[in-house]
């Protein structure tokens, strides 16, 4: 009942061309001119085969904000963007601060089948920054949570942060910090600088991010814990993380696609689609982030996909919600900002969007990319086309994308998750088929069965 797929003539990240045979959820053979009697064939000539993308920072909004996104709609958006795994942030309603909530989110993801959903647990109860959430219970739940974050809010109390860093170590977890000193950003609306000075919008200064990162890397060093920094947005933050890594501090960092390409000049329109937290910064910051990603200071790209209903964005800037959707556009923006500019090659992209985020999230199966024996999670990407990005390219429930009407390079032709397609010919496979494939895959043998007849 499981799918056998034969991908013909894909370009691998090392530049070579090969066929990829998938059976029983795994990659069973890679080579030239493979054949199989009953395989469904996918023509991948001219397409780059990347390992399934892994997002470490996704807001799926369920439970509680289903008018913006659900686990189903969010993972459809993920699949459409080439993702096979997403890490769902904890700022839902109720907050994901108990085993019950994370197990629910995890189960919804497994049932939908578009992508592996790894819940992120809250660090503090109710994201209130005062008392630790049930970290151990979430870690040992069926959701096996390894990443903990109060994202949306900063763990600003230094003692709580210290305790959290220490306590998650007990369970092999990591704290992902949303670095934003709250007093310095009270009522903040956009990057503090010349544009905010003109527009009369309250500034969100770079130092509010950098001060927390500086404190946290020192704390992580002091207690011997791992720290992950969410959505790094300033040149100063890149410098601090570079310094910390040089000293051997166990810190990892992410940058969002939008911080690699958009600047605070866009706020001049007062169009709230450009309102995001942390805010869009200067072009100098954009350049430093690109360089930080290229030299490994920044480990990964994560979307911070933040869906909002129309009414939350059709408003005065100060009244509008922070956030942008990003799953469907992420790979295009990465290609435009760092691949087409020569800073990263496709092997680097596979690292920053797949193996490295999987390693931080301790998600197994992504260590080696597209290799024989690995779970079949990959995306076939056409880097040579470009598209005028439109709402029809958005497959989640919300349309708050900053790229609408802009030309973006590349297109997802197919996404394969755990051996079955979620996107074929550039279109999402229907929900029923995907759910059925997921049930079959979850019932399938765990280890690759090398069938005798796979060679035709």
């Amino acid at each position: 009942m499981t799918t056998t797929l034969l991908v013909r003539g894909a370009t691998l990240v090392d530049g070579s061309t090969a066929d990829i045979l998938v059976a029983d959820g795994r990659i069973v053979e890679i080579g030239a001119k493979l054949g199989h009697l009953n395989a469904r064939s996918i023509d991948a000539a001219g397409l780059v085969a990347l390992p399934g993308l892994v997002d470490l920072h996704t807001h799926l909004r369920e439970p509680g904000f289903e008018q913006a996104e659900t686990v189903l709609t969010g993972t459809r958006a993920a699949a459409a963007g080439g993702f096979t795994a997403v890490h769902a942030m904890a700022n839902t309603l109720p907050v994901a601060d108990t085993a019950g909530v994370v197990e629910q989110v995890h189960a919804l993801g497994a049932r939908a089948g578009y992508a592996t959903v790894r819940p992120i647990g809250a660090v503090t109860r109710g994201l209130e920054g005062a008392q630790l959430a049930e970290i151990g219970a979430m870690a040992s739940s069926r959701a096996a949570v390894r990443v903990f974050s109060d994202d949306g809010k900063c763990i600003s109390d230094a003692l709580i942060m210290r305790r959290a860093l220490e306590y998650v170590t007990t369970f092999g977890g990591v704290i992902a910090q949303h670095a934003q000193e709250p007093r310095l950003t009270d009522g903040a609306q956009m990057n503090e600088g010349s544009v905010s000075s003109e527009l009369g919008l309250k500034g969100w200064p770079a130092v509010a991010e950098e001060a927390i990162i500086a404190r946290d890397v020192l704390l992580a060093h002091h207690v011997g814990a791992r720290l992950h920094v969410c959505h790094v947005s300033t040149a100063g933050s890149v410098d601090l993380i570079r310094w910390a890594k040089k000293r051997g501090i166990a810190v990892t960092a992410e940058v969002t696609p939008h911080h690699l390409v958009l600047t605070d000049e866009l706020a001049r329109s007062y169009d709230a689609r450009f309102k995001v937290n942390p805010p869009l910064r200067s072009s100098d910051d954009v350049q430093a982030l690109r360089e930080g990603l290229a030299d490994g200071t920044i480990d990964i790209v994560a979307t911070d996909h933040a869906p909002h209903p129309l009414e939350s964005k059709e408003a005065e800037w100060e009244a509008a919600a922070f956030g942008m959707v990003g799953l469907e556009s992420a790979l295009s923006v990465v290609q435009a900002s760092v691949v087409d500019t020569g800073l990263l090659d496709w092997a680097d992209v596979a690292r920053v969007l797949s193996s490295a985020p999987a390693a931080i999230g301790q998600l197994a199966g992504y260590e080696d990319g597209i290799v024989v024996g690995a779970l079949a999670n990959f995306v076939l990407w056409d880097p040579l086309t470009s598209r005028s990005f439109a709402t029809s390219d958005l497959r989640g429930r919300s349309t708050n994308s900053p790229y609408l009407g802009h030309s973006l390079p590349g297109r997802v032709v197919a996404t394969v998750h755990d051996g079955y397609p979620t996107v074929l010919d550039g279109e999402l496979v229907d929900a029923e088929t995907v759910a059925q494939s997921a049930r079959a895959a979850q019932g399938a043998p765990i280890f690759a069965s090398t069938q005798e007849n796979h060679r035709g």
Binding site: Q189, E192, G193, S194, S196, S197, E198, L199, G200, L201, K202, G203, P205, R268, S269, Y270, D271, E311, E314, A315, E316, W317, E318, A319
Partner: protein
Amino acid sequence: MRHLLSTRDLRRDEAIQILDLAEDMAQVAGREVPKLPALRGKTIVNLFYEDSTRTRISFEAAAKRLSADVINFSAKGSSVTKGESLKDTAQTLGAMGADAVVIRHGASGAAHVLAASDWIDAGVVNAGDGTHEHPTQALLDAYTIRQRVSGTGARGAGLDGVRVVIVGDVLHSRVARSNVWLLSTLGARVHIVAPVTLLPVELDNWPVTVGHSLDEAIDESPDVVMMLRIQAERMDDSFFPHPREYAREWGLDDARAARLGGDTIVMHPGPMNRGLEISARAADSVKSTVLEQVANGVSVRMAVLYLLVTAPGSDRGVSAGSTRGTGGEQR
């Protein structure tokens, strides 16, 4: 002119056209029947999300002198989270056939959002948006300065070489922002005086010089000293230690007012905190233009409403000077 959202992008000729037209409008005010039929049958809505009786009354008087129908829509309290959204309100006003909407809003950019939307077709006048701009205030200030400097020969003139000192809370002041752009566009040299806490972080792109001492600024014999209002809420937020210290360092007290040159004028957008940013004697002296500013406000707003409502390029009826906007402070 389709909209008036900010002075940032107002060209010199556009600004002078408004000021000259305001001169004509001022003559109407001197007549026995101070009314023109220019906007008969047109509807102007005052959409006020913030209380500002003086600004609303000024726009209302301007509209009525042009024979327009005026609807006052006080949206105060209908905060965006609890009440009707700006979109719904705008669509309602559009359905009522508004030809122009005068909007006062606590959020920077609100007028801009309204003008850029397809919610309503009316022309939009920014009557103060958050801490962004308040263009008609700057226009009436420019008008007032021009009248004092050039007298009856003002028509067609800019403010070339006029030296203006703006003192106080520039950070939160929409009046200051609009004045900085407009006065410099008209050729004035603008100097800003404030404690560092009350200055925007980056002024590199502003056509101004910046200092921190009011006494030094007065030593330079400026033509205009414009005092900004200090809002009560700033006093509790560590922008300065104490109102007394603020008044001592940056207030226009009697001693400082006495040192001003004979032709130097003292301006304040009102309402004033007497004894804080300005002493009662300074506010009431012959140097003070506070009451002229109020009178001139009506003339300038008549000019703006007239240009907006009769703009060609809209189905409403004058010239398409593009006024792209950004925008103000509490006054």
